[in-house]
Each structure stands twice: as C-alpha cells, then as structure tokens.
Amino acid sequence: MTQVLINAPKTAKKGEVIELKALILHVMETGFRPGTSGRIIPRNIIERFTASWNGAEIFRMDFSPAISANPFVSFFAVASESGKISFRWTGDEGFAVEESVAIDVA
C-alpha cells in the first residue's frame, strides 16, 4: 500500500547521525469537529508512532488530536548496524500499520 512515505538513507557510515522522516496517510479526526449533519465526528487518531532498529526501539512519540492530518515525523538516529528500520503507527479503531526500510552500515 502506498499510504506510507519514508525517507531514510540507504547507506550510512557507522556512528553517523542520520535523519529519518516518516509520513502516513491518516485523517487524524480530532473528535471536536461537527460534521455536515451537525453531529460531532468521532475521534479517530493515531496515538503512537514507534521506530525500531533491528527490533530495538529507538524512538517513540505519543500523538494527540493536535497533530495534523497525514502525520509527518522527523527525528535522528545513530547508524549502529546494517539491517532493518521499522516504523509502526497504532491508533483508534484498531489502526496498525508497519513499514520498514533496509539500511547498510559500513
């Protein structure tokens, strides 16, 4: 599925600090807005974003309804070893998406 966009370098030197960017398609409905019917649209947000490097968590962020639709997150990581960087989003209504990218650390 093309609902996730990840920007990460394919290769890095060991110990280098690299930037990781992740964007996901999601409405991030706040639960505070009335819809066309006048009723409040129920909340539907992503609550948590986690990033892991070869299975070990390196970054975690808890969202609130104040995060924009199609949440974008950028953060940094020390390139430790070759392998897989996984990004996981979980939230309301059983939302769970995981995506990973491979990285070569020389």
């Binding site: 009335p34 924009s68 950028s74």
Partner: protein, 155 residues
C-alpha cells in the same frame, strides 16, 4: 427544541431555545493557560523548569492552522550519561493542552524532533525537554493563527 414545536410557543420558551442553541457551538471545552500549566505539572512534577537549551522553531504568523510545521531541538551530548529522555509540547488554546510526547535515547544522536501540528487559535506553545539527570528545560513561542484548525467539516 422548544422554539420549533407545533404547539403554541411562548416568548419565554422561544428565548430559552435560542439561548440554548447559541451556547451549543461552544460546548467542546477549550484548554486554557491553566489547563496547560496543569498538564505541564503532570509531566514535570515539583521539579524546576529552566529556560534555555531548547529551541522551538515554528512560524510566528500562521496562515493555516491545520498544518503548522514545528521543530524542537535541544542541546545535548546525547551520551549514556547525559541525554535527553523526552520532549513534550503543550499548547494553551486547542481543545486539549497536549500536542505530543516524544521519547528519546542516546541512540538518537541528536535531540531534534519535527512534525506538523494543528492550532485552533493564536496562542503560546511550550516545549519541555527532560534530561536523563531529571532536569527540565523549556522554550516557548507565541504564534498568530489567521485560519484556525478544528472548524466544521466542509466536505
């Protein structure tokens, strides 16, 4: 609703109905500076918050409150002995005072987090960084929002 029933509507019930309708759109409670202070206290506890080390980067004038780029960077060596454990961001006038809580570790190398947020009104944004030694540093920014987020769904 009293104002629209088929039965004879008295002036009193009509006014009561109008009053009710005019109050309803404001029903979702807003965060207040006090609510923000309470939310900050929940994170910080009784520790002192010091200004400095934190840079909160966001545009001072925002045309569209639905997607406001925000970046928080904190000066830190990010070593095992001295690193930033968490970055919290709060606002004072959205419906809720929390914006996000990010958890960091020495594996991040740099204590920098960027995202895009929604802002319901012109207000003050506060970023708080928690160090591994249990210290708290903060930075704040005042922003002016011309088109607020959280309006009616027009689609």
């Amino acid at each position: 609703m009293p104002g629209t029933t088929k039965e004879r509507t008295t002036r009193r019930t009509f006014i009561a109905g109008v009053a009710l309708v005019s109050v309803l759109p404001f029903a979702p409670a807003r965060a207040t500076p006090e609510a923000m202070a309470a939310a900050i206290k929940e994170v910080v506890g009784d520790n002192a918050i010091r200004e400095g080390r934190v840079t909160l980067d966001l545009p001072p004038l925002i045309e569209n409150g639905n997607a406001v780029p925000l970046a928080v960077s904190v000066e830190s060596p990010m070593t095992e002995a001295d690193h930033i454990k968490a970055i919290h961001v709060f606002n004072e006038k959205n419906p809720q005072p929390h914006v996000f809580d990010a958890r960091l570790s020495p594996r991040n190398g740099k204590a920098v987090v960027a995202t895009r947020i929604k802002l319901g009104d012109s207000q003050k944004i506060v970023a708080i960084a928690e160090t591994s030694k249990g210290e708290f540093f903060s930075a704040s920014a005042d922003v002016i929002v011309t088109l607020a987020a959280c309006l009616e769904d027009l689609t």
